[in-house]
């Protein structure tokens, strides 16, 4: 059973896996060490006793918990809005016929090609005109509905919501919104959970746009706070690393919960498009 071929195969996979995992291990090791440990020869590759020291210095240098809550708020708000608006539109495109449907959907797909960086400067100017610079509105509202999610939900709705069920609902006197809320949403749940994880992870990790928009430390998201920590405390690297670890953990935990389905859906999404 365990032939030479399969030995090579699993050896290759394991080496790849170790390379993939090592930076996480290294991150945890460094977070438990002092700065001079991090830059010592030979490097310390095993855990040290300084994790709580480092973490308490993170808490003293920046409002870490505040940045965490800001990020949680922005990511959750974005995710909830995306789920609602994308599923409503995706369901409508999949299951209803109305004049211009095909044409409108082509326009929607075409917008995915528009590069976001092109409108970086004008988007900022628009936010300034609205008086939204420095607010969470500028982070949440432009991202509260997107073409990818509508496309994703539409595909799923087409395959999984039987038209007979909608007809039966109509006969029972369900209005449009009741059909969406009571009939479609429960069926769409698997597609929604992927969209939720995808959106949440994306917003949580977003850096460039929050960096441009947020100018007040009390509003910083984790990524912006982390980058500014990294820029200011160049000598206390152990502390910066401990902050990095704290910022990374919530997302890894979330990912491990949803990973199996999430990875299959990522691949399915790529194959479909």
């Amino acid at each position: 059973m365990f032939t030479r071929k399969s030995f090579v195969l699993y050896l290759g996979l394991t080496i790849g896996l170790l390379l993939s995992i090592f930076p996480f291990y290294w991150l945890v090791v460094m977070a438990t060490r002092t700065t001079s440990d991090i830059y010592s020869y030979p490097p310390k590759l095993w855990f040290g006793p300084h994790l709580f020291d480092n973490i308490s210095r993170v808490m003293a240098s920046i409002d870490f918990f505040g940045a965490f809550l800001n990020t949680l708020f922005v990511a959750s708000a974005c995710t909830i809005l995306v789920l609602f608006f994308d599923s409503l539109a995706g369901f409508t495109f999949a299951k209803f016929d109305f004049p211009g449907r095909k044409w409108l959907f082509i326009v929607l797909l075409a917008t995915m090609m528009a590069p976001a960086q092109l409108s970086l400067v004008p988007s900022f100017v628009i936010m300034a005109t609205f008086g939204w610079v420095g607010t969470f509105k500028a982070l949440i509202i432009p991202g509260m509905v997107n073409a990818f999610g509508i496309f994703w939900i539409r595909q799923y709705a087409q395959e999984s919501i039987p038209s007979e069920l909608l007809d039966a609902g109509k006969i029972d006197g369900c209005g449009f919104f009741r059909l969406y809320w009571n009939v479609a949403l429960p069926i769409l749940r698997p597609a929604l959970s992927f969209l939720a994880a995808f959106t949440f992870i994306g917003v949580w990790n977003d850096y460039l746009w929050p960096l441009i928009i947020l100018n007040d430390e009390s509003k910083f998201t984790l990524q912006v706070a982390l980058a500014s920590l990294n820029g200011i405390y160049t000598t206390d690297y152990a502390m910066v690393i401990a902050g990095t670890l704290l910022a990374v953990i919530p997302l890894i935990v979330l990912f491990l919960f949803v990973s199996k389905q999430f990875i299959s859906d990522i691949a399915a999404g790529a194959i479909k498009s």
């Binding site: 830059y39 490097p43 960086q117 409108s119 100017v125 509905v145 990524q223 890894i252």
Partner: protein, 319 residues
């Protein structure tokens, strides 16, 4: 549309009447479907404000001289002229292209290998490996840059230690053009190999095994099957990954910005186009110029996407 062909032109007042009747009918069908339109409208409204309008507005801005505070003034093509003659801009273009090449080719190559290995492995292990390989992709770029900063650190970095073990001299990675570009490329490869491998794996799994069995019966070798069945079947997926990595590669920003700052490091080797745009627009407050650079970047992305498309299409006609 389904109006019968009229033998002679209608008198004007009659045509008007038909038109208005048609309009009324159209309006009433639209009114009947108002809930559907309402349901899909948020996307179009938001895209008009935050997608379409900025594109037109950035065209307008790119012809202006503006620091974001004082009065705007029209300065014609001067922004574009400056961009095309600024050596830093061309430096940023070449840095971006180099980083894209250093990262994309090994990334897709390793991803393909991992996908084949995963495809050949037992189902039970596959799930476990897939999660491990995908983990880097959900990690924030800021965190990745901070961690890799210690690996590529100029003095006493992890990599320099490894070099010292084999008797090589240490390298000031982050001060050298190629060093910083290598560091950025390694980060990109590390973060995206698993993602691409999983997409390739899904592609491999979607190839019907009947094809391989038929090839075997016809006496094709494993290598022949690989080049005649596997690669052609994977072509659209490879194209997808090449295009997404091109679009992503042209927009590299976080890695160099966190690793070496707004100027792209001592050597300037980490100054990518988006970092250049960010610095000019949001650090130096040249908003008009930033908009022009945005257009320059857009053209570059479009050119490269077309080039990629041609390359992959061209290959397919050779076979």
């Amino acid at each position: 549309m389904n109006r019968p062909v009229e033998p002679s032109p209608m008198p004007p007042h009659q045509a008007e009447a038909t038109n208005s009747r048609n309009n009324r009918r159209l309006m009433s069908t639209i009114w009947k479907h108002r809930k559907e339109y309402l349901a899909i409208s948020p996307f179009y409204i938001l895209f008009a404000i935050f997608g379409l309008f900025p594109i037109g507005f950035s065209m307008f801005l790119s012809f202006q001289k503006w620091d974001g505070i004082s009065e705007m003034s029209f300065n014609g093509l001067k922004n574009y002229q400056f961009m095309l003659t600024d050596p830093e801009f061309w430096r940023a273009v070449s840095n971006t292209l180099l980083i894209w090449i250093y990262s994309t080719i090994p990334m897709l190559f390793f991803a393909l290998i991992i996908a084949f290995l995963l495809h050949a492995s037992f189902m039970r292990f596959r799930t476990f490996f897939r999660i491990g390989y995908f983990l880097p992709n959900v990690t924030s770029l800021v965190a990745v840059a901070i961690v890799f900063g210690t690996v590529f650190s100029n003095n006493y970095g992890l990599l320099n230690y490894v070099l010292s073990l084999v008797g090589l001299e240490s390298v000031e990675w982050l001060n050298k053009t190629w060093g910083i570009q290598l560091a950025i490329s390694v980060m990109i490869i590390w973060r995206w190999v698993g993602y691409n491998a999983i997409i390739y794996l899904a592609g491999l799994q979607s190839i019907p095994s009947v094809l391989y069995e038929a090839a075997k019966i016809d006496g094709a070798s494993g290598l022949q099957a690989f080049f005649r069945i596997t690669i052609p079947c994977l072509r659209p997926i490879i194209l997808f990954t090449v295009i997404t990595s091109t679009i992503g590669g042209m927009q590299i920003f976080t890695e160099p910005q966190v690793l070496v700052g707004n100027d792209g490091g001592v050597s300037g080797g980490g100054l990518t186009i988006v970092l250049y745009l960010y610095r000019e627009a949001f650090v130096n407050n040249y908003f008009g110029y930033g908009a022009a650079v945005g257009w320059g970047m857009f053209i570059l992305i479009a050119l490269f996407s077309i080039l990629n498309w041609r390359m992959v299409q061209g290959n397919s006609s050779n076979h």
